[in-house]
């Protein structure tokens, strides 16, 4: 009797909703992902090592990480700047600009891909001016970085913006009354408080860039060992019916993505705890 009442919960539907959640989650996400790892583990370690260390694969990993990282750095800087402008300044059309920041989230990646290619191609809107100086953007690593910057920058803006909004102006005013200059206030007061959110935004943009496909394939040129990103390589392997090759490359990519996700969650958990204590 007592044991029974202990298990009963006051609000109804826990068992039902939890059961449904776990089943749906398992069928849609967990089992398919598990199958990928199972598939990747069916081959021997030497085969695995051979696939991963293949020059074309290694170059593709290097390219993906290198361009994703640089794009995330650019986004961290400009995303923070945009968040700052949106929170601290008032100007005509601000709300419109604020809404537009989310466009990369809302615009289908294929559309972004062909639009960016049209802009940065040698005869494109912007590409033609660089072409005059012999600089190519589309079909090079720069083009890939531009596409990755496009899809990543809202992450940083949307991470930093709420933190800046909640930042109490009193700290800055206190620093000012104590004689700090405005650059001192920025680097000693504001930056330390927003840096965790900048890093979160950076990590989110980085993670997104690692897996991005649609906006990159059109502008990348897709030259093996030069401008071939990992997701494209996976598709190429699939088209050659090399299922285990595709699975191995994907599994390595996934592990890295999960580590990033874990790191972000851990980071957020730690900063949340730090703020609770203080």
């Amino acid at each position: 009797m007592v044991i029974q009442s202990k298990r009963r919960r006051v609000l109804p539907g826990f068992g039902l909703s939890m059961g449904y959640t776990l089943i749906y989650l398992s069928f849609i996400v967990l089992i398919p992902i598990a199958v990928l790892f199972v598939k990747a583990s069916t081959i021997s370690f030497s085969e695995f090592w051979e696939i991963v260390t293949d020059k074309r694969v290694m170059d593709s990993y290097k390219l993906t990480f290198y361009t994703s990282f640089l794009a995330a750095v650019v986004n961290a800087i400009f995303g923070t700047l945009i968040a700052w402008v949106l929170v601290r300044y008032h100007f005509y059309g601000k709300r419109f600009v604020d809404a537009l920041v989310d466009l990369p989230f809302a615009l289908p990646t294929a559309v972004a891909g062909i639009a960016l290619t049209a802009i940065y191609a040698p005869n494109g809107w912007i590409g033609q001016y660089f072409e005059e100086f012999g600089i190519k953007i589309a079909y090079t690593q720069i083009g890939i970085m531009i596409a990755l910057t496009f899809i990543g920058f809202p992450f940083v803006v949307r991470s930093v913006q709420p933190v800046l909004q909640d930042l109490d102006r009193q700290y800055e005013e206190a620093a000012a009354t104590l004689g700090a200059s405005s650059s001192q206030i920025f680097f000693k007061i504001i930056l330390p408080s927003i840096i965790p959110s900048v890093l979160t935004g950076f990590a989110l943009a980085f993670a997104r860039a690692l897996g991005e496909y649609g906006s990159v394939v059109f502008i990348a040129g897709n030259m093996p060992m030069k401008t071939e990103i990992v997701p494209l390589l996976i598709i190429t392997k699939l088209e050659q019916y090399d299922y285990s090759g595709a699975a191995v490359i994907a599994a390595v990519m996934l592990v890295i993505s999960f580590l990033l996700l874990f790191l972000i969650n851990f980071w957020q958990w730690r900063t949340a705890r730090k703020h609770q204590v203080s």
């Binding site: 398919p32 809302a106 049209a118 997701p231 996976i234 299922y243």
Partner: protein, 285 residues
């Protein structure tokens, strides 16, 4: 003003007065410049390229048989995927936000997985499951069921990539609202369903709508995952984004941009609706 200031008079913070507005407009200018290059120009390009060869060709591209089939398939996919993920979102958010249990954080992280998975890998896992060489491949073949290179595969891949959208909007909102209103309903004699439909559902409606809008935008625009499982069969398994790709790769640039402009319009409508919901919740909250 500044020039009239006698040079030998030192005022407190004299340097800051003329500097602040310069810095302000410099920062605003940089931000707007960045947004202009990265947002406005791509949008403009889509519409100008689409209309470059005239309005007739624009509409011809949209009325093309294959284009219409792609639009139909995309709408149908969204019509299946969005309700499924919305129902899951509501049910999962109820379990996670209203009850305490061990492993809650792990569950939330697991729900987040599709956000961390490359769309291409999302497509790949379903090929590994249901493709001709996949786990269920032989079984499906003997029973003559087609999932990969067919509509069910497109639907599955789209469900996967849009899986967390609704539930991730609902959980924080419902956690913030707490359970007092539900408890009040129960003390007043409401049954579980009465409580859910009269109290819980009306309270989550804006969050739900927000999640639906985002989920729908992604479902209609998904490219990578669908590209892997679709097989690009014209008129049969081509969604709108895939149709754009095909047209583009065949150098029908204007037609590609014409179809793309539909998706760009969808994105703009999404942004407007999203802003409206945000405005509405801010007003209510």
């Amino acid at each position: 003003m500044i020039a009239k200031e006698p040079l030998n008079v030192k005022r407190v913070g004299a340097g800051r007065i003329p500097l602040a507005p310069i810095r302000k407009w410099l920062l605003i200018g940089t931000a707007l410049g960045f947004l202009g290059v990265f947002i406005l120009i791509p949008l403009l390009v889509v519409f100008t390229e689409a209309l470059k060869k005239g309005i007739e060709l624009y509409f011809a591209a949209l009325k093309d048989v294959d284009a219409l089939a792609a639009i139909k398939l995309t709408l149908m996919t969204a019509a299946i995927v969005v309700p499924l993920n919305a129902i899951f979102g509501v049910i999962a958010a109820w379990a996670i936000a209203k009850f305490e249990f061990k492993g809650k954080n792990i569950l939330i992280t697991l729900i987040d997985i599709p956000f961390a998975v490359s769309p291409v890998i999302a497509g790949l896992v379903f090929v590994l499951l249901f493709g001709s060489q996949g786990v269920f491949g032989p079984f499906l073949e003997t029973n003559n069921i087609k999932i990969i290179f067919s509509i069910p595969g497109i639907v599955l891949a789209t469900i996967f990539v849009t899986f967390p959208f609704v539930v991730r909007e609902l959980i924080p909102m419902m956690q913030e609202q707490g359970s007092e209103e539900e408890e009040a309903a129960i003390t007043l004699g409401a049954s579980g369903w009465q409580m859910f439909f009269r109290v819980t559902l009306p309270n989550m409606k804006w969050g739900l709508l927000y999640g639906l809008i985002l989920c729908n935008a992604r479902a209609m625009g998904e490219f990578g995952a669908v590209s892997v499982v679709s097989g690009h069969i014209r008129g049969l398994t081509n969604t709108v984004p895939l149709h754009v790709e095909i047209l583009y790769n065949e150098y029908h640039f204007s037609a590609a941009f014409a179809v793309a402009s539909l998706l760009a319009l969808l994105a703009l409508v999404t942004l407007v609706l999203k802003s409206l919901v945000e405005w509405k919740t801010r007003k209510n909250g």
